[in-house]
């Protein structure tokens, strides 16, 4: 009896499997690579860079020389509504599991409502990069980047390298949300721009269409779920050095011997929090290990070290000035630091974070080690 019932189950399972019931074909979902959100008259204009295979046939792989994506757009009152309209357009279920990039146009008014959809989406990848743009987000994700299987792959690589070099803050989705929640509505997003450039002079002369590329040099502050001030490159560097998010970055300094290049590695940090006269003081020590590009530069290493230290300190101070004093924005984990070091102090300050940030006193010590 037992064997018969097992046999029946086996036959049933295999028969059902042969009917094609259950599961989906992998090509029946639209794999989103990048998302752009622009402001629309009544809601959002959602643009999705979706994978579309350029060569078909079960034997031929995807053709890397082609873009392999299509960009679809839809307007909706909410992000969810816009996603649904995109699905209708595409004729497939949208899958966000491999989404690399989320670009939000500067004019969008409520940032958090854009991000909220992805927090609640089961498939969404929490490591996607969140960025902002002054131009249309649709233009950014429509960039004609032909290297890599899909454009979004290259876009992500650009972000990764920029982050390592200090040009871009760590704006992975979960980090942005984490900071946003910790500071009750503050975050910093890299500002991304698209540039077109000819591949070579020859192609320029022959009139070949220029290739698109992305540039990240600045950042933009988000305060109370709205875009606020733009941060210049130096200020972005300052944030990254403060948070030790720089590794393998190049720095050029002017010495009495001329312009010197140094490579910065493994930024370490140590911070102490004290309460002084109803305000918070932070003593931060940052240690940077440097290597030199030229052997001859070793002779004046002390001067180079001093210049590096000075430059890093300048970056950080300009970042602090812009963020703390001018905008009362905590994007450098100050709140978390206070919470970790002195919970009582944190309890006192957490209800009015803007006030204590504005009055914060910073004492930054940078030491470069060779």
């Amino acid at each position: 009896m037992k064997r018969i019932s097992l046999l029946c189950v086996l036959i049933l399972l295999v028969s059902i499997a042969l009917t094609g019931c259950g599961g989906r074909k992998p090509d029946s979902v639209g794999i989103v690579q990048a998302i752009g959100i622009d402001k629309a008259n009544d809601g959002f204009n959602l643009s999705l860079q979706v994978f579309r295979v350029s060569s078909s046939g079960s034997q031929t792989p995807i053709d890397s020389s082609k873009t392999n994506v299509e960009v679809i757009s839809a307007e909706g009152k909410t992000i969810a509504n816009a996603v649904q309209l995109c699905e209708n357009q595409l004729g497939k279920k949208i899958f966000f599991g491999h989404n690399q990039l989320l670009v939000i146009n500067k004019e969008v008014e409520d940032i958090y409502s854009c991000l909220d959809y992805f927090i609640n989406n089961d498939d969404a990848y929490i490591g996607m990069i969140v960025a902002a743009t002054e131009k249309k987000a649709k233009d950014i994700i429509s960039a004609d980047i032909s290297s890599g299987a899909v454009a979004a792959e290259t876009m992500k690589k650009i972000f990764d390298i920029s982050k390592k070099d200090g040009y871009c803050t760590d704006s992975r989705f979960y980090k942005v949300i984490s900071n946003y929640i910790n500071t009750k509505g503050t975050a910093v997003l890299p500002l991304i721009e698209k540039r077109s450039q000819a591949i070579s002079d020859k192609s320029k002369e022959s009139g070949e269409p220029a290739q698109d590329t992305l540039e990240i040099k600045k950042a933009i502050l988000v305060k109370d779920s709205k875009f606020s001030e733009t941060l210049e490159t130096d200020e972005v560097f300052g944030i990254n050095y403060f948070l030790s998010q720089v590794d393998d970055a190049d720095m050029t300094v002017n010495t009495s011997y001329g312009t010197e290049s140094a490579k910065l590695h493994s930024v370490k940090q140590n911070a102490e929090i004290t309460e002084q006269n109803n305000s918070v003081a932070i003593d931060k020590e940052i240690t940077v290990r440097i290597t030199l590009e030229k052997e001859e530069s070793k002779d004046h290493i002390d001067e180079i070290k001093a210049e590096v230290e000075k430059k890093i300190k300048e970056y950080i101070e300009s970042a602090c000035k812009k963020l703390f004093y001018e905008n009362s924005a905590d994007v450098m984990n100050i709140t978390s630091l206070i919470r970790q070091k002195d919970y009582k102090l944190y309890k006192k300050l957490k209800d009015d974070p803007d006030e204590f940030i504005k009055n914060i006193k910073t004492d930054i010590k940078v030491s470069a080690v060779y």
């Binding site: 929640i181 978390s336 630091l337 919970y343």
Partner: protein, 351 residues
């Protein structure tokens, strides 16, 4: 059919970790408070399991129900009914919780009814095979769980931010809330007093080892979520699951589905334990002598309402952290065994 102390430890641990790895942040309790109260809850458990230990040491081949039968038949019958009801309730709660998590984390995957039926069928099958099968399977599942944990920690460690960790001061409300919360999730204290006849030797090692291991892993999981997610924990319902969705392994870009696999394996073991624990005493009561009754009836009685409420999409999560559940666990896991011990001694002295 006997199991070793290590096997019992793993069984109880897996049963407890089932809830811990879907540690969720519905209540307004910070993870730091959760860490502190977990430790206090474990300390409480260490006291609450003492009657079970003494019961085993005095009567190693008996569980609380068998011992109660030796005091008087009526008492034995009453306890059988009580523990049977508890098993049904725990099956209901576990299945409902499983389905709740499934609906929230994998909403597009499968119909809830199918998920529930498969889970119950698998658990009934493992229960039917007996304690040895469950115990040996649990060792393998434990190894898989450890591998998952190692993969998650290894791939997320570089993104840990120490500033996300903080120690929040707790007050008496937090302590009481933590104890109630911990107790209401600790059905293993009750299971322990029922599975004693299966144990070969080493009750103390088993029980305290389980409690310490539980504490270690619960703290580790909460700490991992804190260090990695930081404030993002407040935005998601199942933080450890979210961490797994970011973690990678060779050939696998996300570990959230692997988490589902491991969690399902653990869930089946946990569910099967409830009916397996009823079996030693079932020989004493005629209606329960049929293994189908002991095995299938609790699953049907507990599983059907769980499926019904899942279908109706009614949240039963408050059942998880509930003073009533905690009280029931203390009663069945500590008070009743203590009473039985005292009565047995009293009867022995009288004779």
């Amino acid at each position: 059919m006997k199991i070793s102390s290590w096997q019992l430890l793993i069984l109880l641990f897996l049963s407890r970790i089932f809830i811990a790895i879907t540690y969720f942040t519905l209540e307004d309790i910070s993870p730091s408070v959760m860490m502190s109260t977990s430790a206090i809850s474990v300390a409480t458990d260490m006291v609450l399991v003492i009657p079970a230990i003494f019961l085993y040491k005095n009567y190693p081949d008996e569980n609380v129900i068998i011992s109660a039968f030796k005091v008087s038949k009526i008492f034995g019958i009453i306890l059988t009914v009580l523990y049977f009801i508890f098993a049904v309730f725990m099956i209901f709660r576990t299945v409902r919780f499983f389905l709740y998590f499934f609906e929230n984390a994998f909403s597009n995957l499968l119909p809830t009814l199918v998920v529930g039926v498969m889970l119950i069928a698998a658990a009934a099958y493992v229960a039917h095979l007996g304690i040895e099968a469950a115990a040996r399977s649990s060792s393998i599942v434990f190894a898989v769980f450890i591998l998952l944990l190692i993969a998650v920690v290894a791939t997320t460690a570089e993104d840990f931010d120490i500033t996300n960790y903080y120690v929040e001061h707790i007050d008496t409300n937090d302590v009481f809330g933590g104890i109630v919360s911990g107790l209401s999730r600790s059905s293993e204290i009750v299971v322990l007093v029922l599975v004693l006849p299966y144990l070969k030797t080493g009750i103390t090692k088993s029980v305290y080892g389980f409690l310490l291991l539980k504490l270690l892993f619960v703290e580790m999981i909460i700490l991992l979520c804190m260090l990695f997610l930081g404030g993002y924990m407040e935005a998601v319902q199942f933080p450890f699951f979210t961490v797994c969705s970011f973690a990678k392994a060779p050939f696998v870009d996300r570990l959230d589905a692997i988490f589902l696999v491991v969690w399902t394996l653990i869930g089946v073991i946990k569910l099967s334990l409830f009916t397996i624990s009823l079996r030693p005493a079932s020989v004493l009561l005629k209606p329960l002598q049929n293994s189908a009754v002991t095995n299938l009836v609790p699953f049907v009685l507990g599983g059907a309402p769980a499926l019904y409420f899942a279908y109706k999409e009614q949240m039963i999560i408050p059942l998880l952290d509930n003073e009533l559940t905690a009280a029931a666990i203390v009663l069945l896991g500590t008070v009743i065994p203590l009473v039985v011990l005292i009565l047995r001694r009293f009867k022995r002295e009288k004779n």
